[in-house]
Subunit: 366 residues, 2 copies
C-alpha cells in the first residue's frame, strides 16, 4: 500500500484521522478539521479527496452580501437533503457522506442519477451533490418538491487530489453535456443587487423552498448561505420530536432567523407564519406523545430504496456503527417495484426516557 498523502501521516499521529473499511477498500478519514482541511477529507490510496467545507450563514441579505463579497457571486438554490461526494474507484462509483464515510445507501443509488460515461471521460472528477427526498435514511422530511424516493442535485465539482472547486462555467458545461440533475441557478449578482436577491428569496419562501447558497466563482472562493422563514418552520415541524435531544438553540436560532427575515422583507406580522410555527412545535411533540402512549417509546421511522439487497444490509450495519448506543430496529426489507425497500426505526432515547418519567408522575425541579 502506498504512503497516505499529506497531511494524513501527521493527522494519524495526532489522532485526527482514522482507518475505515468499505468492502475490500481501506481508506483514511479526517475525524476533525486538520491543517486547513475539513473533517471528512479522505486519503483514498495515494489521492486526497477534500472534505466539503462548512458554509456560514448570513441572517441579513443587505448587510450580509455586502460584508461577505467584494465582487460578484453566483446564487443557487439550496436543497434540503444530505451532502455527498461521488468519485470513481476502480470501475465503480462510490459516494461519501459529509463525515467521509463511504455511504452504502448513496453508493447504491448513485447509478440511478449519474451516468458512468461522465467518469469515463473525467476519471478524476469528484461530484458534490445533495441527495434529497422523503425516502432517505438520515434526515426527517425533505424538499417539498420531491414527493417520493430521493432525487440527486449536483451543485459542485472537484478533482481528486486538488483543493477547491471547478469554475462555474466548467461545472455548468459538464452538467449540461451529461444531463446531470442540478438545483436552480439564479445567476450572477453583485452585493448591490441585494433587493433582487431578496425578491428571489421571497419567491423561494412563498413556494416552500429552503433558501440559497451564494458562491464566489474561484476555486477557493468564499461562500455563504441564507434560508427562508419557511425553512425554519419546516425544520421545527419535522424535528419537534427531537426537542429534548437537540440543543435548545436549534430551535431558538431558527426563530431568530425568522424574526430577522420578517424585519428585512418589511412584514411587521405574518399571522400565517405565526400559526405555522406554533403548530410545528405542538403537532410535532403531540405526535411523539401519541407514539409514546402507543408504543412505550418515541422513534423516528425511516424508509429508503436500494437497488441491491446487500447494500441495504451493509447500510444497517454502517448505521449501527456510526450511531453507537442509539437503538435501531429493522422493520422490513422487501422487493417492491424493482427496488429493495428498507424500513427501520430509530429511537429518540432522551425524549423516551423523559416521557417515561413524566407519565409515571415524577415531579421535576426546573
Amino acid at each position: 500500500m502506498p504512503l497516505p498523502p499529506e497531511p494524513f501521516p501527521a493527522a494519524l499521529e495526532r489522532r485526527k484521522a482514522r482507518w475505515e473499511t468499505f468492502g475490500d477498500y481501506r481508506y483514511l478519514r479526517l475525524t476533525d478539521d486538520f491543517r486547513g482541511l475539513p473533517k471528512g477529507t479522505l486519503a483514498w490510496q495515494e489521492r486526497l479527496i477534500p472534505g466539503y467545507p462548512r458554509i456560514g450563514r448570513i441572517f441579513r441579505l443587505e448587510q450580509g452580501l455586502a460584508q461577505q463579497f467584494a465582487g460578484p457571486f453566483w446564487m443557487e438554490e439550496k436543497i434540503d437533503g444530505f451532502n455527498i461526494r461521488i468519485f470513481r474507484a476502480g470501475d465503480e462509483l462510490l459516494a461519501l457522506s459529509r463525515g467521509g464515510y463511504v455511504c452504502p445507501f448513496a453508493t447504491d443509488r448513485v447509478p440511478d442519477f449519474i451516468p458512468q460515461t461522465l467518469f469515463t471521460a473525467h476519471p478524476d472528477l469528484v461530484i458534490c451533490a445533495e441527495l434529497a427526498g422523503p425516502d432517505n435514511p438520515y434526515t426527517q422530511g425533505g424538499p417539498s418538491f420531491v414527493s417520493e424516493d430521493v432525487q440527486l442535485f449536483v451543485f459542485d465539482m472537484m478533482r481528486l487530489g486538488q483543493a477547491g472547486f471547478l469554475p462555474q462555467a466548467e461545472k455548468q458545461a459538464l452538467c449540461a453535456a451529461f444531463n446531470l440533475p442540478v438545483p436552480r441557478v439564479f445567476g450572477r449578482f453583485s452585493p448591490t443587487d441585494w433587493r433582487q436577491v431578496l425578491t428571489l428569496v421571497e419567491e423561494l419562501d412563498a413556494t416552500g423552498r429552503e433558501g440559497a447558497v451564494f458562491k464566489e466563482d474561484a476555486p477557493l472562493g468564499h461562500r455563504t448561505k441564507y434560508v427562508t422563514a419557511w425553512s425554519g418552520v419546516y425544520d421545527i415541524a419535522v424535528r419537534a420530536d427531537d426537542t429534548v435531544e437537540l440543543p435548545g438553540d436549534f430551535f431558538t436560532g431558527r426563530i431568530l432567523r425568522m424574526a430577522l427575515y420578517l424585519d428585512e422583507v418589511g412584514r411587521e406580522r405574518d399571522a400565517g407564519l405565526e400559526r405555522e410555527l406554533g403548530r410545528a412545535f405542538l403537532a410535532g411533540l403531540g405526535r411523539s406523545v401519541e407514539r409514546f402512549k402507543r408504543d412505550g417509546r418515541v422513534a423516528h421511522d425511516f424508509r429508503c430504496r436500494f437497488r441491491r439487497r446487500k447494500n441495504a444490509l451493509a447500510f444497517m450495519e454502517h448505521l449501527r456503527a456510526i450511531l453507537g448506543h442509539t437503538h435501531i430496529a429493522q422493520r422490513r426489507l422487501e422487493e417492491e417495484g424493482g427496488y429493495w425497500v428498507l424500513e427501520f426505526e430509530k429511537e429518540v432515547p432522551k425524549l423516551t426516557g423523559l416521557l417515561h418519567q413524566l407519565f409515571r408522575g415524577v415531579s421535576i425541579l426546573d
Copy 2:
C-alpha cells in the same frame, strides 16, 4: 454579636454562606443548599429563617398527583410574581428575596399590604408571599388580573427559627383575622379527585391564570405544582427577547408541558394555542429587533413604585450588586401620586451582541 445558629458556622467554613448587610443590619445567607436547608436560608442574629423550598413540577395530573401524594392535599392558585419572606426586625418589617437578600423594593412596599398589628400579635411570624404585577423590578410581565403596580398574595407562614410551615387551618385563620390578601384556595382533594382538579386547571387556563400548587397539610409536607398551557405561552411571549440569553430548554420545556397538557385534557389540536405560541416567539423577537434598530441595543424596561425615595436608590444599588456586569441604567425617579416612581433599563447583552454581528453581515457557522 451572638454566635450564628447551626449550621451556619460550618456553612461559612465551606463557603456556602456569606455575610450581607442591609442598612445597619448584618446577616448571613446560605448561597447554596446546605445540610437540608435551601439556598436563601438566613441567620438573622441568633435566629434562623428557613429558605423557601424549591417545588417540583408535574407534567401529568392523573399520574402526578397519584405518584406525589399518598393522602389528601390542598390546591391553591399559583401566582406569577416573585417569592418573598416577610419578618419583623426590631420595629420594622423586612422582606427577603428567594435568594435571601433583604429586598429594598419589597421591604418598602410591604406596609401597603400587611398590617403591623399582625406582627405585634405574632412577633415570630414569617410570611411567605408572592409580590406580583406589571410594575415589579425583577420579572417581565405578571398576572393578567393585576393591571397595574403590584399586589401581594400570602400563601404560607412559618415561624422564626422553626422548620416547616404552619398548618393550613392556622394560616387561613390568621389571614382571615388580619384581612391578608391571599391567592384562591380551591380546597382539599385526594389523588383520585384528579378529574375535578383537571377541571379547575382548565378554568385557570381559560382565564389566563398560571396554575396551581398542591400541598400536603403538614409542617414539612410534600408539595408539587402544575401549570396551564396558557402560562407556557405567556412565559415565552414575555421572555422571547431573552432567547439567546436563556438555555434553549427554557422554551422547549414549556412546549413539552403544553403538548402533554393538550394530551391530558384530550384536545387533539388547539388552533388558538398554536397561533398564540407562534406569535409569542415572533412578536417577542420582532420587538427586540425593532429596539435594536432604534437604540443599538436590546434592553428590558422596568418600572416600579416606592413609598420612600431612599429605598429606590438602595434598590438600584442592590440590583447593580447582584447583577454584576449586566448594564443597568436608571431612567427616571420622580414623585407621582404619592409614590416615587422608578424607571430603569436592563440590557440584554448576548442578544445585543449577536444582533450587532448579524446586522454587520457576519456569517455564522451553525
